[in-house]
Subunit: 207 residues, 3 copies
Amino acid sequence: MTITSFQVALWIELLAAGLGGLQGALFAAGERHRRIDVLGVIVIGLAVSLGGSLLRDIMLNQPPVVIWKNWYLLVAGASAVLGMVLQPIFARADWLITVLDAVVMGLFGAIGASKALSLGVGEAGALVVGIVGAIGGGMLRDVILSLPISFLQVGTLYAVAAGAGAGTLILLAELGTPIPIAGLVCVAVTTTVRLAAIRFNWTFPEQ
Amino acid sequence: MTITSFQVALWIELLAAGLGGLQGALFAAGERHRRIDVLGVIVIGLAVSLGGSLLRDIMLNQPPVVIWKNWYLLVAGASAVLGMVLQPIFARADWLITVLDAVVMGLFGAIGASKALSLGVGEAGALVVGIVGAIGGGMLRDVILSLPISFLQVGTLYAVAAGAGAGTLILLAELGTPIPIAGLVCVAVTTTVRLAAIRFNWTFPEQ
Amino acid sequence: MTITSFQVALWIELLAAGLGGLQGALFAAGERHRRIDVLGVIVIGLAVSLGGSLLRDIMLNQPPVVIWKNWYLLVAGASAVLGMVLQPIFARADWLITVLDAVVMGLFGAIGASKALSLGVGEAGALVVGIVGAIGGGMLRDVILSLPISFLQVGTLYAVAAGAGAGTLILLAELGTPIPIAGLVCVAVTTTVRLAAIRFNWTFPEQ
């Protein structure tokens, strides 16, 4: 059985890249005590937006699409600047950004896991690649800022939401479900788990 | 002269992966004040166990085996959970874990250096790849936890033991020694240097 | 239009690698309170010297030249040791090292951006790869030492100088300028921006 990569229209991917740039800028605004300059904000925006795709392609030994094609960097950079300038407005749309972020996380989880499967990676590896694709941007941001990587700590459930979605996609793909359908289910599962975790204050047990 | 890669039976590699997962979990137990959740412990276990192989293959521009084949991730993850649950028992077998760890470090040094040589990498690069293969898991763990990378500091001699073994392998391979023999010598040298460093409290001079 | 990679004589590249190793050692000397041993100094020297080239080739999905060929590692490692031993002498040649560093940054920016273009990477990606090639060594040093990556902070203008040079090269290459000329212009622009930023105390606005 040949598994194909989950494809979405370019404008959806660019919308996702733009949202990532925005979130990077809003995060940087909360770290003002570090004296980050305008360029630093753009770098953090690019990292949050494109870091997951970059790490995914490096782990899969493929040329990183976000480096090769201009649009990703341009959209992510522009939205980081926008996020910095309009920060007070976006800060008020907090819930909207949270919802969109959950959808984007599901999207990148689906792209990562299906791309891995299409290259012949095993199920366990595809799950890891899906999770890294979904949350790698935040990981790269934390490494750049020398913060402990936030998903390791109690009360975020980021990786769990990404893993639940990617795991469902892998299961469905193995059962022969067409990838476009499996991809949409992945987005739905990740979004639901993520928003439910926030709404009901779910946490994972501490060690 | 064609140099082949040092091959060990899959069960030996998986045993090594399992030991890495265990050590990651024990390390995480010592960092309880960071409020790492169960998932975080598994991530640290995977990083310690498989990080060296992942970084090695990325540096060699090869598809990472630990991503491609299911067994590595499954064994490393399961042993991290085991290490978390049975932590009090394993903590008492401290010396056994130290010895096994030295052997595993030698093993991954031999695999890394010989894989590099087999791809046409020069001696200096093969030495670096061997060392990264041997101690890269600990490096990745430290980056994830935002700790200063421990091997840079006085009194560990981790990298020295790995380098002594990998260097010996490279020398022997250049002299025409069959790789299986050179690999075993590498394991013996690394284990000896590492255990002697602990036993006799060897350190490297500070700058 | 086919764009070729900017080539410089091997001895120039090795001189650049040597300067990087030297700077790594001088940086390590300033971090003495961390109790970094001799090996740690060498590792920091290698990271500063070769980190940019390594990250560049990983982002371009190419076998890293600094791993494959012996000379880079040997020269960078030897100069790190030299820098450690002769630290008081080099500390007095501060201004010379600053000038040489600016030239080297321009050189690696030109190599990175042109190598990316020659592989078919878009202009935005080539700019990022050029900047990473130029300043990636310092980034890797900061990650290894768990310092916040310094170029994100106010008052360094490192990335700006590298970006101005690489951007100029990309523009000239698109206009059909032969790469050797575009590369030299890149070095001149980067050096000028960097030294002017130091001389006139230029900064980028904070967010």
